[in-house]
Structure formats: C-alpha cells, structure tokens
C-alpha cells in the first residue's frame, strides 16, 4: 500500500472526522432502522411492546424518522463533507476542533437527548420535526457550526470556480438553516390550517433543501471521482441546481390537496411539483450521461450505490410529480402508497447516495477497515429489500384507496392491508436489516486500507486532480 498515493489523492482530509461521523451514521442508522422494524411488526402484532409507553408505535415512529434524517443522513453527510470539501475547494475545513465539537453536539446533544425525549413522551407532533423545541434549538446551533466549518473554504477562490457539488453543499447548508426553524417553530405559534401550510412547506423543504442537495452533492462528486471522467455537462448541472432551489420550496402545499388551504396555493404547489419532475429529468440525464461507460451497475461499490441512488431519484421524483396531481392524489393520499414513496426517497435515493459517499470516502482513508464482500452483500440486500417494500406498499396503497373510495367498512382496509404488511415486515425489513448490518460489517471489518487497495487494483491510483480535472477547478483560474 503506497501511502503517498493516498495522501496525494486525498489532500488535507481530516480522516478521523470522516471515520467518526461514518461510524456514528451507521450506529444511528441501525437504531433508527430497529425502530422502523419494530413498528412494521407492531402492525401485525399490535401488542408487541406490551403496552410499555416508550415502546408504543407512535413514539417509536418519532424516533425512526428523526433518526434517519438527522442521525443517519446527517452524520453520513458530515462524513462525506469532511472528505469532499477539501478536495472540492483545495482548502481544509475551518477547524478540527470545531469538527470535534460538531460531532459531539450532533450526536450527544441532538440525537441522544432527542431520542430519549421522544421515547419518554416529550416531542412535538409535526412530521419531520418530531424532536422537541429544545432539541431543535441545538440542531440550529449545530447547523450553524456546520456552515462555519464547511462553507468558508469554498469562498477563497471565488464563485466561478465552484463545482456543482460545492453549490449543492452551500445551498443545502444555507437553506436548511433558513427552513429548519420555520418548519419546527412556526406551527407551534400559528394555529390549525395556517400552521399546516407551514408544516407542508417544511415537510418538503426537509427533503428538498437538506436531504436532496447533499445527496446530489455526493452523486455529482462520486461519479467523476470514481469513473475518472468529468461530468457530461457543467451547464446542465448548474441549470438543474438553480431549478431545484427555485422549485423545491414551492412544493410544500401538495401534502394538503383538497384541504381548506386556499386552492390557488394548492394549485401553485401542484404546478411546481410537475415542473420539479422536469428539473429532475435534466439532473438525472446529466448524471446518467456522466456514468456512460461505467456500466449500468458499476463495479466500484461506492459508484454502484451512487448510480443506483440516481435511478431511484428519477423514479421517486416522477412518482412525486404524478402523485401531486389532483386525480392521483385523491386516490392515493393517506395510503401506504405515500409510505412507499417516502422510503423510495429517503432510502432508495438519499440513503443509497449517502452509503455511496460513505464507501467512497472510506476507500480513501488509508487506515480504515474495508470488507468488499460485505459491502457487496449490503448493496444487493438493500436493493432487494427496498424494491420489495416499495412495490408492496404501492400496491397496498392502491388497494386501500380503492376500498375507501368504494365506501367499504373502514376495518376492511385494515384487513386488506395485512398481507402487504406481512410482506413488508417479514420480507423487506429483514432484507433491509441484513443490508444495513452488512454495510456496518463492510466498513468495520476487513484489512486496514483494503478500500484503497481495491481501487488501485481496479483502475490504478492516479491522483484525483489528474484524472478528473473538471471535478476540481484548475488552480489559477480562467479569468
């Protein structure tokens, strides 16, 4: 193993923080997934949990969604940022000490107390905002710390040198800082339908301004870095970026179609949802063209996760544009279709991208353990589990919607759901659990430095600046 090659390839990366956030991501992932699996089984065995309040369905679901969004994706994004920001900007992140504080605050002042509080009954009943306000305050502080940690590096050389991933990172961190307080605070002080309008905005902003930009930053980074070819079109990448930030925030009200929120606001959101599909087609076309030559399922595991996340991104976005339309929405809203959709987004798109970014960064930590077989298993288990779950829940949603529209007794929709819930709990959740455990095994066992060895064996170890010149701006500038 040639250490100099690694250090050339990964300039000034604080690998300790990449590793720490990566491990935290995997641990919080397993905790969150455990909560999800328990609630999936509780729909089959409702007395599982024996009436213990902290094991009841509602509280575990609070823990599940917040754990996935903040614990798993948050940590995985931070791990990726510690890897990518120095490469993208050519400068180190602001401070290693700040990094250790951020790590501690995120995991021990946000996740840990957040989970303990919602499980013990201190929470707020707002989707994607379930942690109580006291934890929200810490989240905002931590997001501000993250902005200080990661953003200054980008501005040293000016805007025209920013690669699209850098734009997404800046956009994601800045807009989340704006949207998070709105979504968590406003509905507490604005009543009923008006508060719901703000909640709708936040539900979509959480996905659109936090999760999507950072996931796309990973995808746009990993594809050229792993294929050693520049992306297909920088123009399309920037077009997609700006359209995303213009259109995503305008989607929120599509969660409340046919409600008392003014119809013109609903129609505006529905229109924006359709346009968003156009934007995603632009982004994904650019990504797929950038992948050309790497194969539909690239051999490099990080790249394969990222490519698969791209496919799911296209599917989930087209599905989202479609289900925002009134005719579809009235048939599937409130059903398991939507649960399938959200898992396609958070797991299929965002988690595959995050896992790809994590594996990619892990390969480039010289001392990190790396177990290629386990990672390969993780990939296939996750693909199988996700597809089974999404197809299953989509059909379940159609069945439920049909029974409701037919005026069947309510309980018949519960009875008809059971077979689909059995498939999800007994089929999909074990596959997914196996996949996530394999991912943990893949990144914590095996030989140290095995990741980089695998990259070298496959494609040689030329430093990233030489093989992907358009990923990193040319020093000196074009001006």
């Amino acid at each position: 193993m040639d250490d100099t090659a690694v250090h050339r390839a990964v300039p000034r990366v604080d690998t300790t923080l990449v590793h720490a956030h990566g491990i935290a991501a995997l641990v919080t992932l397993l905790v969150s997934v455990t909560c999800g699996i328990i609630v999936a089984f509780q729909l089959l065995y409702p007395d599982l949990g024996a009436g213990a309040p902290w094991l009841s369905w509602g509280r575990l679901r609070y823990a599940h969604t917040q754990g996935i969004m903040l614990g798993w994706l948050g940590n995985a994004f931070f791990a990726f940022l510690y890897h990518a920001v120095p490469i993208l900007s050519g400068r180190p992140v602001t401070s290693g000490r700040l990094g250790r504080w951020l790590f501690a605050v995120w995991n021990f002042a946000v996740m840990l107390p957040g989970w303990v509080l919602v499980l013990s009954g201190v929470s707020q009943p707002l989707e994607w905002a379930e942690f109580p306000l006291v934890v929200d305050a810490v989240v905002v502080v931590a997001l501000a710390m993250a902005a200080v940690q990661f953003l200054p590096a980008f501005f040293a050389r000016g805007l025209e040198y920013l690669y699209v991933s850098s734009w997404y990172i800046i956009g994601g961190l800045v807009f989340t800082l704006l949207a998070y307080p709105m979504g968590n605070l406003v509905p507490e002080y604005v009543a009923g339908a008006s508060g719901a309008a703000f909640s709708g905005l936040w539900i979509h902003d959480a996905v659109g301004l936090f999760v999507t930009p950072l996931a796309l930053a990973i995808i746009y980074f990993v594809i050229p870095a792993a294929t050693r070819r520049p992306i297909y079109s920088h123009f399309l990448s920037m077009l997609g970026f700006w359209l995303l930030f213009f259109l995503y925030p305008l989607n929120g009200t599509h969660h409340y179609v046919y409600s008392v929120i003014p119809m013109s606001a609903q129609l505006a959101a529905i229109t924006a949802s359709a346009l968003l599909g156009v934007d995603v087609i632009i982004v994904v076309a650019n990504l797929l063209l950038s992948l050309r030559g790497a194969g539909f399922l690239p051999r490099d595991p990080g790249l394969r996760f990222v490519a698969t996340g791209t496919y799911f991104y296209l599917v989930v976005s087209i599905q989202g544009s479609m289900q925002a339309q009134m005719a579809v929405n009235q048939a599937v809203h409130f059903t398991d279709w939507v649960v399938g959709h959200s898992h396609l987004a958070m797991l299929g798109f965002a988690s595959f991208a995050a896992a790809g970014g994590l594996v990619h960064a892990w390969q480039r930590i010289p001392w990190a353990r790396y177990n290629a077989r386990a990672i390969n298993h993780a990939y296939w288990l996750l693909v199988a589990g996700l597809l089974l779950m999404v197809v299953d829940l989509t059909i379940a949603g159609l069945v439920q919607g049909q029974l409701w529209a037919d005026g069947a007794p309510w309980i018949e929709s519960v009875r008809a759901s059971r077979v689909y819930w059995v498939i999800r709990a007994h089929g999909a959740s074990w596959l997914l659990a196996g996949g996530f455990i394999s991912l943990l095994v893949g990144l914590t066992t095996g030989p140290r430095g095995g990741g980089w060895q695998a990259v070298e064996d496959r494609i040689g170890a030329a430093p990233i600046e030489q093989v992907a010149p358009k990923l990193v701006p040319v020093t000196g500038g074009a001006a």
């Binding site: 369905w57 509602g58 989707e127 339908a193």
Partner: protein, 406 residues
Amino acid sequence: MSAGRAVRKAYLVASVAGVLFFAMSVGLLGIWPRRVIEAQTAAMSPEHPLGLSDSALRGRAIYAREGCAYCHTQQIRYLHPDMARFGAPTLAWETRFDYPHLWGTRRIGPDLSRAAGTRSADWHYAHLFAPRSVVSLSVMPAYPALFDGAADRPRQEARDLLAYLESLGRARELAGPEGEAHAREACNCADDEMRQMAFAGPVNAHPAKARRRGGVPALAPSSDLARGQQLFGDHCASCHGATGAGDGPGASALRPRPANLIEHEYSNRRVAEALWHGVSGTAMPAWRDHPLNDVAALVAGVRALGAVRDEPALPAHLAELGARVYAANCAQCHGAEGDGRGSAADALPMAPTDFRAQRPTLNQSLQVLRNGVDGTPMAPWSGRLGADEMLAVAHYVRGFYDGGAR
C-alpha cells in the same frame, strides 16, 4: 467584462435570487394562505366558538405525545368519499385553537375530526385500554398506562384524552344550523363547488354513530347463515362473545353490558334496527358502512344464536297479577302495549326495551327484574316486588312478542 467576472456576477445574482425564491415560497405558500385562512376564520366562525377545556388541552398533549396523528388524520378533505364517511369537510375556523395542527398525512385508522359524539365513553375506554377487546381486527396499540389496571378504571390521563376526543368537531356541531347558515353566508360560495361542499351533508356522517331512531332500509331476508356467522365473529364477538352470551373480551368494561343474544329471541326488525342505528346510549355502534346483504346475513346470524326453549307455563293463579304489576310499574317506560313507547320513554337516555320485537327467556327476564341493568335506567325491582309479582311480570312481558309480525 471578462468571462470570469460575468460568471461571478451571474452566480451572485442567482444566489440572491435563490434566497428570494425561498422567501417567496414562504410568502406564497405560508404567509399569504395564512392571511386568507385568518380572514375566512374571522368571517365564518361563530362569534363564541367552543374552545378546549383544560382537560381537553391535557388530552391533546397526550394525543400529540403518543403520535396518534400518524394513523388518524384530523382533516376531512373536500372529496365525496371523505364526506360520505366522516362528514363535512374541515373548515378553517374549526382549527383555530390547534397549536400545533394535528392534520396528519396517513390514515391507518379512521379520521377523527368528527369524533365527538360518535362513540360512547366506555367504548373509548375499552378501546384505549385494549383495542382488540372491542374491535377484533384493530391494529391500534394499547395504552394500558393510561389506566389503573382495568378499562373501567381510567386514570386522569385517559379521562383527559377522552375529553379531547369528545371535543373534536364539537364546536361545529354546537354552532348548529345557525352557525352553518352564518358560515355559508360569509363564505359567499355560490359559484365555488368546493366551498359548497363544506355545507352539503351532515356535520358528522360517521357510519358508526348511533341514532335513537330512524328508518331501516328494506333488507332482503338472507339465507347465508355462514356469512352471517363469519361477520359475527369478525365484528360482534369481541363484545357479545363467540357464542353470543354477551361475555366477549370487551364486555366487562362496558355499561350496560353487551346484550346476551342467547337469552333473547329477536325479530328481524329489532336486529336490523340495532345494526343500522346502533343502540343509542350504549357502546353498541351502528354498522351502516356494511353492505346491505351483509347486514341481512348478520341479522340471520344473530337470530340463529337465540335459544328457543320450552319455558314452564305461567301458574294459573298468577295470570291476572302480571298484567296488574306491569301496568302499575313498567308501562310508563315500556308502554302499555310493551312496545317501549311509554310516556316517559323519550326522556330516558336510551330507549326502553320493545318487548314486541324481542323476547327474553324467562330466566333472563327474572334476572333483569331482580338486578336491574347496570348502566341503564332499568332499576332492580327485588326490593319492591315480591317473588310472585316478579315471576308474574316476567311471564307477562314475554307475551308481547309478535315474532316480527310487523
């Protein structure tokens, strides 16, 4: 201007525009709707809408804490299937005290916007304590921590939660026809189809809401006993017991106890009424959401449970006595003809038994006379009537039954 500076300027403009777009989204989809909703609320709300009591507010916090909104929405959409099942679509003013809103985005259980007055209190307690004791197919979690060991021993938390459930939709119902008329006028919705829908049907259309009286759709007699028994097992056995003896898992928490279907003979009409309207004042809900042929099959299934026995004949010397005791003590409520329409009947919280449509066994009849029926106005008579008198009147009430002649 060099290319680099042009790019830099373009990006700066776009960055500012991006932040402005975010601000626009908040303005367009948050602040502006809020103004419209608040104007609507001000115009359409009754002058003094019912707020939440302290108990209901504490209950709301429990509802929020337990994540009830993940499975129960509180938002009836402007869609006919929603309105037919739950009632009038949610108006803005109805949500004016919701900090924060609890609209929800998934319905595993039914919408609860109109929960007030839909179920009885003891049904709710039994359901919260052990959901499957009253709804055998339910997947709802149990909340025994809200109780002191049994469904009929609710702690303060369970009472608060019930107070909250009973507040859902109450403000609109209490506003009454005047409130609806005021809101309709203020909404100025002559041409707006969606707004018109807000006032199209009953405020609470829940198919399980019990009604004191009303017509029953004509049911074709069903010979599908197997279907009836299957439906009974799915929906009725949890309270009435697998054999119909009124001893299902949910029974012990309910006052009055579920009817003992073995110890009665029922006419078709009586069973059909109980299924279609529920039994107002008891935990027995209505089953109007079931297809008519299923209701007919269930009628047949319930009637088949009744044991028709040869009862001992009334001793001859007591024949006169029964009529006299009945006229003196029972007729005010149960009616001179035994049809449950005595002069006091309407003032009672639940309808007195109509003996023409249902005939208790002698044993059942005597037991009720001796012990009364807990949870109903039917008092125990053992202290007031002698053994002969009770035996006589127990026989007498059985004589009204006409087996569904009407």
